[in-house]
Symmetry: C2
């Protein structure tokens, strides 16, 4: 009997470890609401071969918007980065500072910008034009390393949503291939998406500018031109997803603000089983409060999950 | 001593298995030439952390052209598929048959097509326009299942190059992420690339037509429009690679014919260590013989590997 004691202890210990693992909450920053339950149920079904909601591993494609879905967007980091690009352009061509649009952006003259939307478009075009993608990414990396959010006083990369990062980890652990699909610039998001979300560069789908290859003796440079080929917003999001993955996503996450994510959520409905998560910014204390009409209405109509930051999330930022 | 005999046998057996594994040739369809040696050396260095040619796993991006590099291209399957698309269009709109370009394609009237290149371009545009990508892929699948090559009398998917499929498997086993980068249509290649080469849809980079999303109650369709955004040929290949991967490839394979793959091979030279494979079609007995001037010249100048089908490959087709 005495001899069996260590064995019994070992078995008991193994059972406890097993239960502990089985009980670990994969989404600890989410409150125990029906949204969390819907996510867990969908993923359990998707990975259970005997469930009618089973999804073969190669079809487990999950797509998420970035600004307002995975990190804050008031303002978006890329709009803030525009100032860096303007200053860089002025350092190369001082006369650029004399343009009224430049003055308006640097001094936050909203009324000028609202009256002259075409000027801001030309401005964006000229600060990018002819820049090698490697130089663009160097500037963006420097911006993200050194700039803090004007109101929240943290680096932009410290303003990712903890519940969403947990969700991405949970999906990844269950065999989902995760993509970002955003109206932000692809080359901008790529420099932080891997560290912030575990999403590698090839899984970042974004606004695409025409680029050109200029060969030289030791290889060649990819230069940005001003022309935008895909805005990768609204109706262009499903097209971007198809173009880049050749698949229809089974999980799609986006957020309210400008109806930007409705189309890609709708696209997911082609699958027999799909999960849509529409994030609602309703927490002015911990984050910001803003909305749009269609995103909420369409979500209700289609039974998509409204993720209310105020009640569904225990913690907001990482 | 008797007791040790089974153990000794087991150890001997284990050593033999180990040697057998170590000696298995990963590229049995390649002759033992300097090209094969260059490939093996490059991969051994890339995966050996103590080698100065070591490449971190996330940077092991290998990119290959498709037509003439991974399967035969005389004619390309996609050109042959054009007939199917024309017949499909005629079944929907019989008046389409009356166009002179349609008549010329169906009856192989090369002189008309050479004199009227614009007609053939409009023709390609009109057979694709407004077709859902799912329908396009259904037709393409049917074509590949039922059509045989006019001279080689095999299905197109049975005309992949065995040495190249072995190479892809070998690279994959060594942690390389493999992409196809071709001037062929993305949605065409995607239907066979996974089965033929083990390359999943998201790793197929090709000619990109503008598409649009049309929502309906149960989801939505992606429709092809006639407009080509990227030909993904020549100087556009490095751009396609950057757009889709956000990386610079360390291995690039292409072939002689129309100088189509020079730029992407050149692009690989940005890396401190890169391997370029330029396939030379010099075997009119077992395949076809054709060339171009720049691909050979540029390869010689840059010390890229010329892969001569006649002497470097034991076997050609799978």
């Amino acid at each position: 009997m005495k001899k069996l004691f260590p064995l019994a202890c070992f078995i008991l210990f193994a059972i406890l470890i097993f239960l502990k693992i089985a009980m670990v909450d994969p989404l600890p920053s989410w409150n125990d609401t029906h949204v969390k339950n819907n996510i867990l149920t969908f993923v359990n079904d998707a990975t259970n071969p005997s469930s009618h909601g089973y999804i073969a591993p190669e079809k487990r494609i999950a797509v998420f918007d970035n600004d307002g879905t995975l990190w804050q967007e008031q303002p978006t980091a890329e709009i803030a980065f525009l100032t860096t690009l303007i200053e860089h352009k002025i350092s190369q061509d001082p006369s650029f500072a004399k343009q009224p649009a430049v003055d308006a952006v640097l001094n936050g003259d909203k009324s000028y910008l609202e009256k002259n939307p075409h000027d801001i478009y030309s401005l964006i075009q000229s600060v990018h034009e002819g820049m090698p993608v490697t130089e663009y990414q160097r500037l963006a990396r420097h911006f993200l390393d050194t700039t803090r959010h004007p109101k929240l006083h943290k680096k932009y990369t410290d303003l990712t949503y903890k519940p969403m990062v947990e969700l991405l980890n949970y999906l990844r652990a269950n065999g989902f291939n995760i993509y970002i699909c955003s109206g932000g610039s692809q080359d901008f998001m790529r420099i932080f998406a891997e560290q912030a979300y575990g999403v590698p560069p090839q899984n970042v789908i974004g606004l695409t500018k025409r680029e050109k290859f200029i060969p030289h003796d030791r290889g060649g440079d990819i230069l940005i031109t001003g022309q935008i080929i895909y805005t990768n917003n609204q109706d262009e999001k499903p097209v971007g997803i198809w173009d880049r993955t050749g698949r229809t996503p089974v999980i799609v996450g986006g957020n309210v603000r400008s109806n930007g994510d409705i189309a890609m959520m709708q696209y997911g409905m082609n699958n027999p089983h799909s999960l849509q998560l529409m994030i609602v910014h309703d927490d002015p204390i911990r984050e910001f409060k803003y909305t749009d009409s269609d995103s909420i209405q369409t979500s209700l109509k289609n039974n998509w999950n409204l993720v209310r930051m105020k009640s569904d999330w225990k913690i907001i930022f990482k």
